[in-house]
Symmetry: C2
Subunit: 119 residues, 2 copies
């Protein structure tokens, strides 16, 4: 099964768990008590968070403390950043494309993109 950060944060319960343990490490049951689904259900969510590297577990006596490893969020952040200009300049894809066409027409540059209909 696919286990990447994007999937890790896809579920709202998991984002809530992350938010809890981001502030301070918490043991399993403390996390679970915060939700109205079963303890086991929360364990499964935590397991997924562990598998995709967003949470780390430290044993302490019989308790297991979850702590957030938020560095992984950087992957998502980086992915988004490459598109930031598309929305922060208030241009949508179409406007941006038209701009590209116009500058191409003006400077007679050769094609760089390859998604076009090539038939």
């Amino acid at each position: 099964m696919r286990r990447d950060v994007f999937q890790g944060i896809a579920d709202p319960t998991r984002r809530e768990i992350l938010n809890m343990v981001a502030h301070r490490p918490l043991n399993m049951d403390t996390v679970a008590e915060h939700f109205d689904v079963s303890r086991t259900a929360i364990y499964k969510h935590i397991k997924i968070l562990i598998e995709c590297g967003l949470v780390d577990v430290k044993q302490q006596g019989r308790e297991r403390y979850c702590e957030a490893k938020l560095q992984k969020l950087g992957e998502v952040s980086d992915w988004i950043d490459q598109y930031r200009e598309f929305w922060e300049t208030k241009l949508d894809a179409l406007e941006k494309y038209i701009n590209e066409l116009q500058s191409k027409a003006n400077t007679e540059t050769k094609k760089k993109k390859n998604y076009g209909k090539q038939k």
Copy 2:
């Protein structure tokens, strides 16, 4: 079914679709041809992207052009930003918690968080 941006970008195929149409609007089949799964499978992905507001469709004759609406990525970006200090300062949750404890001990402030074991 849940339809938010987090879920929209959870699937790698959908991220790839988004990347394609971010650069310029493309009609359905052009997008579909780029993948080795069936056209219908890609349509379903596009449908999800539409439902969570990341893609918009413009009819043009019998063709339907998908264009990216990347503003929605801002929601994810904002969510991540609230945790940025946790990883960019190179502190993990535990260190940060210890720091919090220390400053509390020093200034005798009252508790603000409520995730603690209150039993």
